[in-house]
Symmetry: C2
Subunit: 204 residues, 2 copies
């Protein structure tokens, strides 16, 4: 019934989402025109409006699309390695992920739109920080069962560790402030993981 005539091209839809997903974070919502998106997508303006009925809808779809892409692997914590080694590895991977320019742009965008588009930032938060926190919390619980660590409240501990990891450079990067060298950053991460384990190590 609804399959009469030429169907909408999924490729064009993807092109539009890709263009919007690049331009919105880069220039901000208000400074990105629909015409510019159409041009960047290699598509006519009318086609954009054929796939998305207004700017706000397109914005939502584009951010959702990018958030979905950035989902990190859940089996990271499945490895059986020394706790300190795994946590340090996590810290390093996380920083690399979060400090990437496009991730920063997306993050800034969600923060700036959190009043006008609460669902967007909610979604970003759940797919990003909250998901990681949950995974880490589970891992820490397992460590406690194995008596590798001694943590009263693993949820709090997970938030603490993640906050410390990101706190150093991510906050600065989000605000566009220069961050230290790679060596300094890595020193900070090593110190932080060590400090975390010292605070939560099993009693002698």
């Amino acid at each position: 019934m609804s399959s009469k005539g030429r169907p909408k091209s999924p490729e064009k839809r993807d092109q539009i989402l890709a263009a919007a997903g690049a331009l919105f974070p880069l220039q901000g919502v208000a400074n990105t025109s629909m015409a510019a998106i159409a041009e960047a997508a290699g598509v006519s303006k009318q086609t954009v409006y054929s796939h998305f009925d207004c700017k706000s809808t397109l914005f939502r779809a584009a951010v959702t699309h990018r958030v979905d892409e950035h989902q990190l692997t859940a089996d990271f914590f499945a490895q059986s390695r020394p706790v300190e080694e795994l946590l340090l590895d996590l810290a390093r991977h996380l920083m690399e992920l979060l400090l990437a320019e496009d991730a920063l742009q997306l993050h800034r965008l969600c923060i700036s739109q959190c009043i006008s588009h609460p669902e967007i930032s909610q979604q970003f938060f759940e797919a990003g920080p909250e998901a990681v926190r949950q995974l880490l919390e589970n891992y820490l619980s397992q460590c406690c069962e194995k008596k590798l660590l001694q943590i009263a409240d693993t949820q709090i501990a997970a938030v603490q560790l993640l906050s410390m990891i990101t706190g150093g450079a991510h906050e600065r990067a989000l605000m566009g402030v220069a961050i230290g060298s790679k060596a300094e950053l890595d020193l900070y991460l090593r110190e932080t993981v060590t400090m975390f384990i010292r605070a939560y190590q099993s009693e002698k």
Copy 2:
């Protein structure tokens, strides 16, 4: 020489700055028109342009103005109280300060404008997070001298503590995501200060 005729009214200037300082964070730069600022300030549009030559200039002046207001007292750390008590007090004060709606708006604004107005976010950062960090670092150093704590790198430790404090709820609030109850937040802060001290206490 330059004092001929009627002088510009400082009151009107303040009204304009107040209006801009309220509207820009609330609605974003692009969504706040000069006409709206003039009206909110109870002043004609021309007067706005008489005091500030363009929108960008006004934006800069307004944010600077608000940042200056929010400077926190430096003598907080001068009190001689038990370390744990003082740090917990700091944590509570900081959270109250950072979670205030207008502070959040200003913070979001700086983040969203950090590409187009790097000086602004730089200034915000130095007057805010960086200033607090410096004060805390000094305090921690003093604690080490008194053998109350044992910290190899007080700069790192200061960042760690501040990150943990803000990490819990501030990150969420910045993204407009609901935060826990006051009781949960306070539990988190107490746990965090305790954990910090446990990690950095002087060796037995």
